[in-house]
Each structure stands twice: as C-alpha cells, then as structure tokens.
Symmetry: C2
Subunit: 211 residues, 2 copies
Amino acid sequence: MSAVVKTKIRVVLADDHPVVRDGLAAMVNQQADMEVVGEAGDGEEAIVLYEQHRPDVMVLDLRMPKRDGVAVVQRVLELYPKACILIMTTYDGDEDIFQCLSQGAKGYLLKDAPRPEILSAIRAVSEDRPYTSSQVAAKALQRMGKPSLTQRELAVLQLVAEGRSNKDIARRLAITEGTAKTHVKAILTKLDAISRTEAVAVAHKRGLIHL
Amino acid sequence: MSAVVKTKIRVVLADDHPVVRDGLAAMVNQQADMEVVGEAGDGEEAIVLYEQHRPDVMVLDLRMPKRDGVAVVQRVLELYPKACILIMTTYDGDEDIFQCLSQGAKGYLLKDAPRPEILSAIRAVSEDRPYTSSQVAAKALQRMGKPSLTQRELAVLQLVAEGRSNKDIARRLAITEGTAKTHVKAILTKLDAISRTEAVAVAHKRGLIHL
DNA sequence: GTGTCGCTATCCCCTAAGATAGAGGAGGCG
DNA sequence: CGCCTCCTCTATCTTAGGGGATAGCGACAC
C-alpha cells in the first residue's frame, strides 16, 4: 500500500436484475478509487448488507421485491442517519423523485445515464455531496406546489387503477359508495383530471402508482 | 490459434441503458466461447450494427428509443431470415411475448433471470435452438385463444388509456361518438372488462399498451 | 379552546359511459 | 360469386360516474 492511495470508496449495490448488478459492478471495480463490497437482489437483503458493510455509498434501485427503494431509504436512514444513498432507476415520475429525496437520499439518477455521469454521481454522494441531474431536478421542482394525496386517497386511487367501480371500492374499504365517490372526486381535483381513467394516466406518469 | 478452438459466438447487444449493456458485455466477454462485437443504444443503431457485423446472436431489449424491439425483430428478419434474435426485457406481458416469438425471435427472457440462464439462452439461440423459460412459455400459451384487437381498436385503446372521453376519441379519429363507443364496447368484450378503466388495467398487464 | 385536517357521509343534478340491437359499405378469400 | 371481418353509423335505454355543496366527528396543533 502506497501512502498516496486513499481508501477506496466502498459501494453496496441493490438491484433485482443480476445483469444490472453485473454492469454496475464491472464499472465500479474498473475504477481505481472505488470497489463493490456487496450486492443485493431485494430490499431486505439491501438493508442487511448495509448493516454488515457500512459502505460509503449504497446504489439502490426503486422497484425491488420484498421492500421497495423508498422503504429501504427510510429504514437505512433511520438506523444510520449519515448513510449516503444514490437512487438509480428507470422511473422518472416526480413523485418517486420527490419521495426519495425528501426521505434523505443523496442522489437520484436514471438508468439511461451515461457511464461517466453514473461514476461521478457515486463519487459525489460518497463525499456527502448531493447529486441530481438537471432533468431530475426539474421533475422534483415540478412536484413542488402540487397537492399531496392522503393515505386514504392513495388507497382509493390504487383500486381505481385496478379498474374497480365506486361500489366495489366502497365494499373493499368498508365505507359507503358516497364516501368512495367523495375520495375519487378529491383525487380528480388534486390530479387535475376530469375522469377516473385520466386520473390513472396522470398518477401513473407522476409515479403515484406503479403497474 | 489451436485447432480445437471453435470460432467464438459473436454477439451484438441492443439496450438503451448503458449499465445493462456493460453488464451483459462483461458477462459475455468473460466466457471463453463468446464475444461482444457491437453495442447499440437504440433500435435503428441495432439494425445498422446487425448489418455491419452479421452476428451469431443479437440480444435485444424491447423498449428502446427510435424503434422498439418488435420493429427491430421484424426488420432484421425481413433482411436476414436466418437471424438469431434473443429478446431480453423486463416486460412479461403475454402480448409482448407473443408478438416477438410469432415475429420470429428465437428466444425471450426476463432481465431478472440469473446469469447462467442468460448465458445458456445465448448459446441455445446461437445454435438456432429456440430458448424460452418455463414462465415465459406459460405466458405465451395464455395468449393462445385470447381474441386479438384490430388496429382500430388498438388506436382507440391507446386513447382510452390516456384518459380521453369517447367524444374526444371520436374527434381525434374523425369518427362519430357512437362509433367510438362501438369500438370501446368491442375492446371491453375482448379484454373481458366491465369498464374502460379495467380495460386499461388489463391491457397494461397483458402488454397491449405501454405507459 | 379554536382551528385545521382527514375521513366519513348525504343530497341534488346532469352527463358520460356502457348494454343492446341492427345495418350498410369496403375488402379479403375460398 | 358468397362469406367473413373490419369499420362505420344509428337509436334507445339504464346506470355509473362526476360536479357542487355541506356537514359531523376525531385527532392534533397552537
């Protein structure tokens, strides 16, 4: 070990696609100043590996089995408030971005980002500097000023997106049909949609619902 | 060169995520019997690279800029009917799978497949043997017997998914509202849905529409 | 305690959506 | 040629969906 060699940036990867993990691992391990110390295929594993390795950076996919990215961010920062987490995903909805960043993730980038950007994002986050590409930042700002949905409204929205009728929704949530309609109307207003189908489209695009 | 060394399997990769290409490339180049000879980031590039290199296998993502996977399959097989194409994607809807395989793709696998499966799929397809995982095959069979939508119905479905009203759809397609309703009704029947919102949910899950 | 917020609920009104049935023209195919 | 599918249009009828407003109740904050 030479005296000029700094300690490498230690990275944990979490993504449910082996091929993506391989790609990231190859990229990272090729760099002189960083190394992969752990790979997780789902959310729970990600948390366990974080505790085991206490890496300088955790690179996290949003959609994963067991526990999704947002939940992992929340849990890890609850345990280790100084954790540096970089979200790397295909989802560019303003709600996803907003959730992650407001939970305390240090960076957010899209999977179609070029290699150099990915690496510089890892370096930035490892030094506790936030990293957000301009497009992502723009989305996060879009989210500002837009009204949030309540928990109940999100539950109703989920059922609406599955194609359920108001009556059906009411039965499942043990409320009256009138109340279901009240919630749906609130959703339409907040999402600025004129029909439930449009509301689903908007919600999908914004990342309020998935699938 | 030793006499026992066979010619390597020459592979072209097409995926819009650099990180995925890197992962695949790393995996492939690590194998003694295969090598990556080209990488494309969109559909048009994929076609060009196929013509340039005439690889033994092309690994193709479904959703790509410029031209999507199905279109690439169609075009390449039109030019070179003996081309061996392996689809590798996250989309597991029966329609996506059915489209690709019936167009002539030799294999279809999901991005969450383990490394060994990916490699054996590439080897299989390179020898002109079809490769389909059991889950994927099951989906393809599910598609059998299900009615197809006409072009017009697909166009209407797309607009329905965007949240347009019947009147709006009619205006955009230059038909009467009644005709729009007729199409919507046909869609509901074929997708076995009772409302347009459910139809959108079903269509999405089956891969008839994206986004 | 007063105010705000979230969840619940109810009433009226009206339109968009879906169910049903029928029909004619264009084009492909045996 | 007839047969079939697709696309188009029509008409009627019923219901689910959506607009607008209002309000009681519990939780929580100030």
